[in-house]
Symmetry: C2
């Protein structure tokens, strides 16, 4: 095969520039591995005039990404603009209709319109590939869709937003508050233009929605994910969790249960000695659990020019090599709508309470937990100089429902000086 | 595509039985993901009578794997017999000649005959897949060949023999000698029939040879690997390395240098806080370093029925899906013969010496190191009750050549009470 694979690339931000750079710098290596040359034919971005540090004069320019997507001289439309709707979606749809395959890094678009786009791709006889959409340079889409294809998947979980993990580990290392580290991260350019996408857990939840669809053969269902960001995580909780042998991570978990598909993105405790607990800084980690393979852990850079470009180029090489799979690993029409299940899987919980320091206060809390059928694994009351007594409890495995009942009942005891913090401890 | 993919499976040991079991238990899931049914047509093993705990009466039986490989009613020959030569090689060659694709878990065969088999496969227009040959259930062949295909690979390294890692971590945890833990592991059935394949580093080196070929586009060259097993690792070194913040691992490293391809398999020190340093028990870990993606770490079970079967079945599903790649990711005729380079990359070293306890002994050692241009990063002399003084040195980065010179010169100082231990500290 010596016919070149011809690309149109829309979007020349960090990922687009990185992709162009890798395709240029490694052209010979890529041609050797792909079995044919890979050529950039045309590009599109908001401003033609902007200096992006790479020469673009060898490529045709299109102001309109939809026009780029429909060019007759390209085989593959590479969508690196981002945004769930607008030009990214319009151009992707145009590309499929025009008989082009699509490579994209767009997690939001796939999390929200993935099912419709997968159907459109199959109708057109084209494929959509999106390795860069989840966990940057880590080849997790490939590992799950292909490498673990013989496994019934039990659970998929991971740390999929490097900015949040940076913030949480920096809080712990420097003993700083969330607000202080947020300001630092923002100043360093570590956050999205809308930081809530990062710290609110939305970006990571987009990724989780995509992994769920592949893992469980279900239609991608972003809206069913329970999402809680890291804005409420306090340095007290980080320190006291550490004292009990845990780390706090923004953890995405997707799990098929007897009651339906549980998908959640929330700060959780994990054992400090587990691979997830040991993950520091801006790195990503995805854990895949299969019935045959057991637990596979993948770790690497989740963002940045090089890692994301690596994933985009891997998809392009796959297409050049003739690998053609349905978007979520199975024909989209056969994907089932999963019943969403909220916190169906029981877990131990970490509770931090501030009690008024009077006789019998702790006994009342213990009684409320006992009444809700929740037993205590470990409890610590810390020394204190005020009239408020900080108390930590690690419960045995319980349901979220029982815990919510207990928390409501605690409210009526009159011994709480503040709203308790309750964080799930995930088995990893 | 509803035409079934039809398999002939040779070898019904742990891996073969696991593969049959996964193909049966997950038949519907596999058909949905593969886009077509996958059927076992015929099997072959040494003894037809043996009870393997799975029903085989639905499959044709062949006493001769070569006859199985040539059957006209199969598309794929699944070689799970093992052994670099003999029936495994004969049947693989027969399968390719008869126009069958091959799936194998046979690291020894590929490490030794990989280039010839890859040429034969390409001549016949067939493909060989071997995900299970390296690191069991971890999809590392796929990650390297496809997921990181856009990267110039800088280095591949890892812990690729679970038995050795089990022995080393058990020595440390229980404070036992190599001999004691070896006997335990042997009794538990953790070792190959010829344990030297495991503890001598040969099995892991077979895997490294395969990874090197993919990573660097070179012909697989097992003979060029410097191999040292774990038999000489003492509990003293494990404890004292730990005391300096390190762990000892049987580490395979492959790296393209200005002087050629360096491939080594030897006990090395790694920082205790690194992912490799934290790897305990029988788990495998492979680290892939690419120029765009940075460092990707993959962790999972390196052996066992389920994990190995997971990898074999993934290869089968890839073939059912129509994925066809050259054996080592590029046409075999284009793979270059790499010049082997011995310890070309400088590194810090760990030295453990036992000195006779007399004035000036340590000064002599320090002088010898200085003369060889080796500077000392850290030194510890331990308290002692005998006339022998245990001394640990961590050097700054130096070459193996300089170190060997220094070790030779030390021999002439008359202050060594025993041969020094020198272990490389790998940057990870």
């Amino acid at each position: 095969m010596s016919t070149p694979l011809r690309l149109g690339i829309a979007g020349l931000g960090t990922v687009g520039v990185g992709t162009v750079r890798v395709l240029r710098d490694q052209a010979d290596l890529i041609a050797a591995r792909a079995g044919r040359p890979v050529e950039i034919v045309a590009v599109s971005a908001r401003s033609k005039a902007k200096d992006r540090g790479i020469p673009l004069d060898g490529y045709a320019w299109e102001d309109d990404p939809v026009a780029l997507a429909s060019r007759t001289d390209i085989n593959v439309f590479v969508e690196l603009m981002g945004g769930s709707d607008g030009p990214a979606k319009a151009a992707t749809e145009a590309a499929l209709k025009a008989g082009k395959d699509v490579v994209t890094a767009n997690k939001a678009m796939l999390a929200i319109h993935g099912q419709a786009l997968a159907l459109a791709a199959e109708k057109a006889g084209q494929v959509i590939r999106y390795e860069a959409a989840v966990a940057g340079g880590i080849p997790v889409i490939k590992a799950l869709t292909e490498g673990l294809a013989g496994n019934g998947i039990a659970r998929v979980l991971g740390v999929m937003n490097g900015s949040c993990n940076y913030i949480l580990t920096r809080m712990q290392d420097a003993g700083l508050s969330y607000q202080e580290v947020f300001a630092e991260a923002d100043a360093l350019g570590y956050l999205e233009a809308d930081p809530e996408l990062d710290v609110g857990g939305i970006d990571a939840a987009h990724k989780l929605a995509i992994l769920s669809a592949i893992a469980f053969g279900t239609r991608v269902d972003f809206d069913a994910i329970e999402i809680e960001g890291i804005g409420q995580v306090s340095i007290e909780d980080i320190d006291q969790a550490a004292d009990m042998g845990f780390r706090i991570k923004l953890l995405g978990v997707s799990q098929m249960t007897g009651r339906g598909l549980e998908q959640r993105m929330a700060p959780c405790l994990v054992p400090a000695t587990s691979p997830l607990g040991q993950l520091e800084g801006g790195t990503n980690m995805v854990v895949l659990e299969g019935d045959a393979v057991g637990q596979i852990v993948l770790r690497g850079a989740g963002a940045g020019e090089g890692p994301t470009a690596s994933a985009v180029v891997a998809d392009i090489i796959d297409l050049a090599r003739g690998l053609r799979l349905p978007t979520f690993g199975q024909p989209a029409a056969g994907l089932k709508a999963a019943r969403p299940a909220r916190a169906a899987v029981p877990a131990p919980y970490y509770l931090r309470m501030t009690l008024v320091d009077k006789p019998g206060a702790l006994a009342k809390i213990a009684a409320v937990l006992g009444d809700a059928g929740i037993s205590i694994d470990r409890m610590r009351q810390y020394g204190h100089e005020t009239t408020l007594a900080p108390v930590l409890i690690v419960t045995h495995r319980t349901t979220r429902t029982a815990l919510d009942e207990a928390l409501a009942a605690m409210d009526g005891t009159g011994v709480l000086a503040a709203t308790p913090v309750a964080l799930r401890i995930e088995d990893v």
